[in-house]
């Protein structure tokens, strides 16, 4: 009996050992982790980013790799499951020994992996526009903060004479925060509370009849009305279809969206949407040579001439190139060295300029406003003349208006309170 029990123990050890193995590979390549969902609800958006990363790694290898070594992309599938994101992040860093990770889309997935990256001191490049209110030593935010997307969009519409605002969003943290910021911003510009309507819907909401009808009534009050949409992914198609069918056209009530890009539009019949707006830091239609080359490379890599490019892809393009430059500058892939080296590094973006990594781990970007065209592309109708720096702590929220972030020594703090002179997260 005892003998058999010992057998089982040995078996268990063996099993555990087999799980743990695979870490023993020799490091003759530099590994880059790709942490994007390939199945589940988020696969729609994230698969493209995985392909983008594979393409960028391939291109870099064609140029001779990095520090004399080839790059190797390690792809895992966190399956749109948030705890799994943390587990896979740990696997990438601890087991696969990747030097940096490019990944995540939703805020919750980023929140889920954040402690892992901080504990193991690795690097995460996060490519999607988000609600701000965060700054981590280990995360580089290459997507837009609210001041790089939402506020310029509202300014643009105000310039067109919009007086009444519908803030419609999916009920999660990005729309909630963005709308809080916008509400405070609009009120600071003298918009009355009665001229702001806020509406939240669940994920994947598909029956928009009542809400669109309500928007229509709200917009019939005689003042120029616009909808600021932070509606997420899947819910957009039925929303726009309903808008089109109920006759809410862009010249009557324009909708400006922050989560609708070329990729989302490729799944919609865009004819009824022509003229509705989106605010991004990049459009596929931007006319310059870097962008043209990028699109060409992408089409060749994915072997499909019809595939579109979008803003988060550009963010990965910027983030990856920044990382490459920082590694070259530091001469090592060591996370701490790269963290120091990357601040201040500027690389070409695809909108025809340069983006730089700022001390708050956010980057500088131009803001573009585009109108949806019948072919599913955007036509830029307005653009900031210069670059806008990502503002991690919004000036329009009570909790964060006194906070700043600067990861350079000697401050090296993600949430320094300028009033109290304290860094609140430091123990």
């Amino acid at each position: 009996m005892k003998l058999r029990q010992r057998h089982f123990v040995a078996l268990l050890v063996l099993l555990a050992g087999s799980i743990a193995s695979g870490s023993a590979l020799a490091a003759d390549t530099i590994k880059v982790g790709v942490l994007h969902s390939l199945s589940g609800t988020m696969a729609i958006s994230e698969t493209t980013l995985k392909d983008t990363m594979l393409m960028l790694v391939e291109e870099q290898n064609k140029k001779g790799g990095l520090l004399g070594k080839k790059l190797e992309a390690v792809v895992v599938d966190p399956a749109s499951n948030w705890p799994l994101f943390a587990e896979k992040a740990r696997e990438l860093i601890e087991k696969q020994k990747v030097t940096a990770v490019f990944g995540c889309w939703t805020s919750v997935s980023r929140k889920s992996v954040l402690p892992v990256f901080e504990e193991l001191n690795s690097l995460l490049f996060y490519p999607v526009q988000y609600e701000g209110e965060e700054s981590s030593k280990n995360v580089f935010y290459t997507g837009a903060a609210p001041n790089q997307q939402a506020i310029p969009a509202v300014d643009y519409l105000m310039g067109l004479g919009v007086k009444r605002w519908v803030l419609a969003g999916t009920d999660y943290v990005y729309p909630r925060t963005t709308n809080k910021i916008l509400e405070a911003y609009l009120k600071s510009k003298g918009v009355a509370a009665g001229d702001i309507m806020i509406n939240y819907t669940p994920f994947g909401h598909s029956d928009w009849q009542s809400i669109v009808s309500e928007i229509k009534k709200f917009g019939a009050a005689g003042k120029k009305t616009a909808v600021v949409s932070t509606i997420n992914g899947d819910a957009n198609v039925p929303f726009y279809k309903e808008l089109g069918n109920q006759g809410v056209t862009a010249d009557v009530i324009p909708v400006v969206a922050f989560s609708v890009g070329e990729e989302e539009l490729s799944g919609i019949d865009t004819k009824p949407l022509v003229g509705h707006l989106a605010a991004w830091n990049y459009f596929m239609s931007v006319d310059n040579e870097t962008n043209e080359t990028f699109i060409e490379t992408w089409h060749k890599f994915i072997k499909n001439e019809k595939r579109v490019t979008n803003d988060p892809m550009e963010a990965h393009y910027i983030g990856f190139n920044m990382w490459v430059k920082a590694v070259e500058k530091a001469g090592t892939t060591d996370a701490t060295a790269v963290q120091e080296a990357i601040i201040g590094i500027a690389v070409p973006n695809l909108s025809g300029g340069y983006s730089a990594m700022m001390p708050n781990h956010h980057i500088t970007k131009p803001v573009l406003i585009g109108e949806i065209q019948a072919d599913g592309q955007f036509q830029t109708v307005w653009q900031t003349k210069g670059l806008v720096v990502g503002d991690e702590w919004s000036d329009y929220l009570d909790g964060s208006k006194d906070l700043i972030s600067d990861w350079r020594a000697p401050l090296a703090c993600g949430n320094f309170n300028v009033k109290t002179g304290k860094c609140s997260a430091k123990k």
């Binding site: 009996m1 587990e87 919750v108 123990k427």
Partner: protein, 368 residues
């Protein structure tokens, strides 16, 4: 040791399971903490957390097996109890952050600060105490199960209807928890935990400790389930599962028996959730998703119904397969998982446990 010898005679598989758990509970922390990283037998922290997570799933599977295997209630909503236990623990962990959140607020968790909440909602009070949180881990799922069961069993909702009702329950809870207004962090859930009982959650020692605690919880859970299933109550449950009306006509209070076992099962799931949260570091409404609950049922089916140890086995096998396949074949792993479900139900109706029983493992009688 006597309990093992006793168990081994009575219930060989169970004895093996307990022995394994004991061994794992002791060995895994030693291999993780005691051996250097270079040692061939060293277990990485990644593996320890992973195994800890599996054990929590195994405990959930056992809870599902109590309801399905012994009570005949195909619950498609046990994820709800699991998640509620997890949220109770998450609330304790959030309160432990104290003023170390990014905004440095002494009382409010970060997500409340940046949504402009001014004070702590009433239901967050008390969760700064571990004992209170522990009570809630069991009380909240238990109470929900009690209310649900009280209504459902009294009006004799059975079979498929009951299954769908449990699904509606967890679905409604998922939608509710997604709402930011509810005060549980909405979609982002609760995260960024710092420490439990004063031990840093990022320390290897804490992780090893949590693993040992999960192993202990699973072992104790097994003993408790076994005790119940072998008691008069357990036998009555089996009778109810097989012929509810007959049991009722004989004069048993069918509703009461069902209710208590159902509540017990929910509490078990709650404990599993509470152990799960500090190990994975996040709790979010997707744990309420109907799909998650169905997966738990699938573990039990794969492992083998009404054997308890089968549930544990199923949870471990499927989750290991999932971890392995998502890394090895990210594009195709769903094919494998889907095919596994189909094949097991078609060719292994008794699950893996049934397969084990077919193997001439034990020669001398003894029914499990």
């Amino acid at each position: 040791m006597t309990i093992f010898t006793h168990l081994y005679k009575e219930d060989r598989a169970g004895g093996v399971l307990l022995g394994l758990l004991l061994a794992a509970g002791l060995l895994v922390p030693v291999l993780n903490l005691g051996l250097g990283e270079a040692h061939p037998l060293h277990l990485s922290t990644y593996t320890v957390t992973l195994l800890g997570k599996y054990l929590c799933y195994a405990l959930l599977a056992m809870a599902v097996d109590m309801a399905w295997g012994y009570l005949g209630i195909l619950t498609l909503g046990h994820g709800a109890f699991f998640a509620l236990g997890g949220y109770a623990m998450g609330m304790y962990l959030m309160r432990q952050i104290g003023s170390r959140g990014v905004y440095g607020h002494p009382l409010l968790p970060d997500f409340m600060v940046f949504l402009n909440w001014k004070e702590l909602p009433w239901f967050w009070h008390g969760f700064d105490g571990f004992i209170f949180a522990l009570l809630m881990v069991m009380a909240v799922p238990g109470l929900l199960a009690f209310l649900f069961g009280w209504f459902a069993f009294r009006s004799r909702v059975t079979g498929v209807y009951l299954s769908i009702m449990t699904q509606a329950l967890t679905y409604a809870l998922m939608l509710a928890f997604f709402r930011n207004d509810l005060g549980f962090g909405g979609n982002n859930g609760l995260t960024d935990f710092k420490e439990i009982l004063g031990f840093s959650l990022q320390a290897d020692g804490t992780r090893a400790g949590l693993f040992a605690a999960s192993a202990a919880a699973l072992a104790l859970g097994y003993l408790a389930c076994r005790f119940i299933t072998r008691s008069r109550l357990g036998k009555l449950c089996t009778a109810i599962r097989d012929q509810e009306d007959r049991a009722r006509f004989i004069g048993y209070r069918v509703e009461a028996a069902k209710l208590w076992v159902f509540v017990f099962s929910a509490v078990l799931a709650g404990i599993a959730g509470a152990l799960y949260v500090p190990q994975v570091g996040i709790i979010n409404p997707t744990e309420f998703a109907p799909l998650a609950s169905i997966e738990a049922v699938v573990w039990v089916a794969v492992g083998g119904r009404a054997t308890l140890y089968g549930a544990v086995l199923g949870a471990l096998i499927i989750n290991y397969a999932k971890s392995y396949l998502t890394a090895a074949f990210p594009d195709a792993w769903l094919f494998g998982l889907g095919a596994l479900f189909v094949l097991v139900t078609l060719f292994l109706p008794q699950g893996v446990a049934g397969l084990l029983q077919m193997v001439p493992f034990r020669k001398k009688g003894g029914t499990p």
